[in-house]
């Protein structure tokens, strides 16, 4: 049998070789001093890599972290359990109206397949709250919101993973982004009017990103695509969307309203 390759030694070290590979490796190692030495060296080097070599946090990191967290933590308490409560608890009429609008936006915008960024929809405040929406279950709203976030996230991830040298391959993502803009704007404006600054902020950034993607042209340069990717990452939009998305999923799973505000 030939000597074990470095990759085979790595798999053997981690116990990731198949049963047959393991038997062969053990048999070979029993008779090959050179490979045994190679495995010993590998283990010695990998043994140097421990959690002790983790980067150290800068001085005062704990206080900085708390300063970053405090507005979110205290905000979640003072807002009756966070923005999710706004969706269903603060005002059933608002939630219902929003549900209707979100669904309407999806129907009019996305499911019609109309390309491009359409005219701005009116904010929720112009819609008589508690009309059509009251008949809609809160779950429908959450599903619509969750779908919107999931679809938006998929568009952004596709763009981030796209080949920089082939911007033209993003035509489908541009159309999907354009379809999502109207629904996003409705939700954002509603959030702003409900005083949900954190949610509105995320949706505002998302809207800018969606518009940038939608407005990108098929003959954009690789450099333009790279710059767009960099802007998206600098805003940390995906991360923040995941936070919001997690709230939606939790709310979808919970049949009853969120726990009472902590006092």
């Amino acid at each position: 049998m030939p000597h074990l390759t470095e990759d085979q030694l790595v798999l053997h070290h981690y116990g990731e070789d198949t049963d047959e590979e393991q038997r062969e490796a053990v048999a070979h190692l029993a008779q090959c001093a050179e490979c045994r030495e190679g495995l010993d060296r590998l283990r010695h080097v990998l043994g140097m890599v421990t959690a002790d070599s983790d980067p150290q946090a800068p001085d005062g990191f704990e206080r900085v972290m708390w300063a970053r967290l405090q507005p979110h933590i205290e905000g979640s308490r003072s807002r009756e359990g966070g923005w999710a409560s706004w969706l269903g608890l603060r005002g059933p009429a608002l939630a219902g109206g929003l549900a209707a609008l979100v669904i309407a936006a999806f129907v009019a915008g996305r499911w019609s397949g109309a390309p491009g960024v359409g005219p701005l929809p009116e904010p929720v405040a112009t819609v008589p709250a508690g009309t059509a929406g009251d008949a809609r279950p809160e779950g429908v709203l959450l599903v619509a919101m969750g779908e919107h976030l999931d679809r938006s996230q998929m568009v952004i991830v596709e763009l981030l993973n796209a080949d920089d040298t082939d911007p033209a391959s993003l035509s489908a993502e541009r159309e999907r982004a354009a379809d999502l803009v109207a629904a996003n704007r409705l939700i954002r404006q509603s959030a702003e009017q409900a005083g949900e600054a954190a949610l509105a902020d995320v949706l505002d950034d998302l809207e800018r990103v969606l518009i940038e993607i939608a407005n990108g042209s098929g003959d954009a340069s690789s450099e333009e695509l790279q710059l767009l990717k960099a802007r998206i990452e600098q805003r940390g939009i995906l991360f923040r969307m995941r936070v919001v998305g997690a709230e939606v999923r939790e709310r979808e799973r919970a049949p009853r309203p969120l726990r009472a505000p902590e006092s």
Partner: protein, 195 residues
């Protein structure tokens, strides 16, 4: 979980902000290390730790008190870091730092040739490891860290990072090769590899 953590968790669940602050100040440095070794960036690690605490805060009611708090926080932080890494994966795939033979690490290794004893005495092995880890691409670092330090199987690492098994293996292989190239001179003073 020790009594202090248990008490703080209990109070934090009841809405005591000071108790949650105590937990943040007690565990954040540790979580930073976990996040930084996965992301390879202090700034990214800060974001990951912040996100981890926000998730922890939301999930505090579901935390099982018999479990170890730090282990729970560790798991949340790793998951947040994985989310973060997946989001920026494309950039890391396209960016492969300079070869290990080049740059500061190579120069230090070539010029000084410290013995393992000298390095250990000064705690420099950890410094060398940190430098070598910093030269991995994001994907290599994440895959290697999850396999080597977090003890996740290659299948689990692939699932976490959204990679096929073959791609996961190759990320780990590349990482190990780079780590060996950087660290072996200080570990054994011998050449690398089995022919």
């Amino acid at each position: 979980m020790n009594d202090s953590d248990r008490t703080a968790v209990s109070r934090a669940r009841d809405g005591d902000g000071e108790a949650f602050r105590w937990l943040v100040e007690r565990h954040s440095r540790y979580l930073f290390g976990v996040a930084a070794r996965l992301t390879g960036s202090a700034a990214d690690a800060e974001d990951v730790v912040q996100e981890a605490w926000l998730r922890a805060h939301r999930q505090l009611a579901r935390f099982e008190e018999r479990a170890d708090l730090r282990t729970w926080l560790h798991r949340i932080t790793v998951n947040c870091a994985i989310d973060f890494i997946r989001a920026r994966r494309h950039r890391e795939d396209a960016h492969d730092p300079a070869d290990l033979e080049q740059g500061a690490l190579g120069e230090i290794g070539a010029n000084t040739q410290p013995t393992p004893e000298r390095l250990a005495e000064g705690g420099q092995i950890q410094v060398r490891v940190g430098e070598a880890m910093a030269r991995l691409t994001g994907l290599e670092r994440a895959a290697f860290t999850l396999r080597h330090l977090e003890g996740r199987s290659i299948e689990e690492v692939g699932a976490a990072l959204g990679l096929k098994a073959s791609a996961t293996k190759h990320s780990i292989f590349r990482a190990v090769r780079k780590m060996r190239a950087a660290l072996e001179p200080f570990a054994t003073g011998k050449g690398a590899g089995c022919s």
